[in-house]
């Protein structure tokens, strides 16, 4: 892409347009001069306790006061009761590993990381959680006990991780 852009910049001067030839096909391409940077602003207003919980070392789910259903990731509304009367519930942070993968080809926005392991665990409280798995993915197997730990990411903010329990 960088090569194409450079060629297009040169070609503006020589050819009169931001064009470049695609190496593989030999077809002439117009190299878009407009760039779009996407960054979303996402509301966490109704689940802010979850983040406060992480700061206190707690993993929180929401629980419907009426029917008792647990929601993780936490959500504001109970679709069964058509009610929004929720309370915060502290999960025990222990469970069983269900499945995992190691991401080798990373999105550019994760290029600062080495290949990372994403796993799903079922917590003893009944909900499942998707998170990075700490440690060697070759040493774990589905069915084994794991715990959830809260740790700081490279970027400096808190996030929960799945950690194998020894033995």
């Amino acid at each position: 892409m960088e090569d194409l852009r450079k060629a297009a910049e040169t070609n503006i001067k020589e050819y009169g347009f931001p064009v470049a030839i695609d190496e593989k096909s030999g077809a002439l391409q117009w190299v878009d001069m407009r760039e779009l940077h996407l960054k979303y602003i996402i509301s966490i207003e109704n689940i802010q306790e979850f983040f406060e919980g992480l700061r206190d070392g707690k993993l929180l789910a929401t629980k419907c006061k009426k029917c008792g259903e647990l929601f993780f990731p936490p959500q504001k509304d109970c679709p069964t009761c058509m009610d929004s009367d929720m309370e915060w519930f502290e999960l025990k942070k222990e469970g069983v590993l269900e499945t995992l993968t190691v991401i080798f080809v990373r999105p550019p926005s994760f290029s600062a990381y080495e290949p990372y392991t994403v796993a799903i665990a079922k917590l003893d409280d009944g909900v499942r959680i998707t998170a990075w798995l700490r440690g060697d993915p070759q040493k774990v197997r589905p069915g084994q006990r794991v715990k959830i730990e809260i740790a700081k990411r490279k970027e400096g903010y808190l996030m929960y991780e799945i950690v194998p329990v020894e033995g």
Binding site: K24, S25, L100, T101, V118, R128, P142, M159
Partner: protein, 394 residues
């Protein structure tokens, strides 16, 4: 009101730097209109399946209205991740079934290579629950399916080699399909020795980033009669299912609930025995965006019992001559996976197979006169199972 496909067209899939969006779309539209022998004035509704984001044009229906001179036509764009093409068919099918339209043009088009690969990887990783999966965890699209693949391996003892065999089969047929992105066979070792993308998937377990378009013309039973159309296939039934955005909200990782639900709905409506559907159909296109996805599809579609899909692979039961031929067009794996075009291309394949127009070496025996298409958006976020047939549905 029964609905028929009276025309079908598809471009070569792959790197299409030689054409822009409307030119690429027109290639397929032109073939579809010519095989159906219809003109612009005959079409009263146009549905465009286009996921977009990676390509420059967002208003594709209007762009095609302009480029193809479609006068007095209603139009819309449809998106259902990788099932976008079948979602477009769904809209046209129900529009005719309900009597709202007589003749509908369905276009599926995608120009993924207008963006560099890293951007596409970035965008496609968002086909799930953005905040809880991508923003903080960087799950990629191969990663989502890999989570299922490893669960399947752990539960049923499937191996990376089993998955690689799916790729070998699909490349075998892709080599016989002039419209396929990869028209070459691969060896098992080649697939096994390729670098990892998301464990257990290596390069050859993954469908590619593709440009391409496909189009079909749908017509009501009335129009088929009025025009005396002989060359046609019918939509016998369609099932649609939805899954949770978050994979962590799923009960199982060894099946896609939305797909098995969609299959059940489609089989019931078509009067197909849900316990042995392969006895009623001549072949199937299943959504093999990744090799393990094809194995799981065998089970969701009940071609095999739970845990026995991998057995079909080992015994080569999904080659022509086996229990049921699957992806004899190369599948998403070798034919390519231009998101919005994929589902429509499956309909084009059903058309070719049922009318015995498939190329040498990849034509199935048409005995039952029925073909199945299984198109999944995201990781079972949206599932479509469509059954096409030669005979008018009862």
């Amino acid at each position: 009101m029964a609905v028929a496909i009276i025309g079908a067209g598809q471009t070569k899939f792959g790197t299409r730097k030689d054409v822009n969006m409307p030119e690429l779309a027109w290639e397929a539209i032109k073939q579809a209109m010519q095989t159906a022998n219809v003109e612009q004035k005959d079409i009263d509704f146009m549905v465009v399946g286009n996921a977009g984001m990676w390509s420059s044009e967002a208003a594709v229906p209007a762009l095609m209205y302009e480029y193809g001179k479609f006068e007095n036509v209603g139009s819309m764009r449809v998106e259902a991740a990788c099932a976008t093409g079948n979602a477009a068919i769904r809209v046209g099918y129900t529009a005719i079934e309900s009597g709202e339209a007589d003749v509908v043009l369905i276009l599926g088009v995608e120009k993924m290579q207008e963006s560099p690969n890293p951007t596409v990887i970035e965008l496609i990783g968002r086909f799930g629950s953005y905040f809880w999966e991508f923003e903080n965890l960087g799950l990629t699209f191969p990663g989502y399916y890999a989570i299922h693949a490893t669960a399947y391996m752990a539960k049923y003892g499937a191996t990376e080699e089993d998955f690689a065999k799916v790729a070998v089969k699909n490349h075998h047929y892709g080599a016989k399909n002039p419209y396929a992105q990869f028209q070459r066979e691969i060896k098992l070792e080649q697939a096994l020795n390729a670098p990892y993308v998301a464990w257990p998937f290596k390069l050859f377990d993954c469908s590619p980033i593709t440009d391409g378009s496909a189009a079909v013309i749908l017509a009501s039973e009335e129009k088929v009669k009025e025009w005396g159309i002989e060359e046609k296939i019918w939509i016998h039934s369609q099932g649609v299912g939805t899954g949770t955005a978050n994979l962590s909200r799923r009960e199982s990782f060894t099946s896609l609930k939305s797909a098995s639900y969609a299959a059940e709905v489609a089989y019931k409506k078509a009067g197909i025995d849900i316990d042995a559907p392969y006895k009623y159909i001549d072949g199937a296109d299943v959504h093999d965006c990744f090799t393990a996805a094809e194995v799981i599809a065998y089970e969701d579609l009940r071609f095999a019992k739970r845990g026995e899909g991998v057995q079909l692979v080992r015994e080569e039961q999904t080659y022509i001559g086996g229990r049921i031929p699957v992806n004899v067009d190369g599948g998403l794996k070798a034919k390519g996976h231009p998101i919005g075009a994929t589902g429509v291309s499956q309909a084009v394949e059903a058309w070719k197979q049922l009318l015995s127009k498939a190329e040498n070496g990849r034509q199935v025996d048409v005995k039952n006169g029925r073909y199945l298409a299984h198109n999944v958006g995201g990781t079972g976020h949206y599932s479509y199972v469509t059954i096409y047939g030669l005979e008018k549905p009862r």
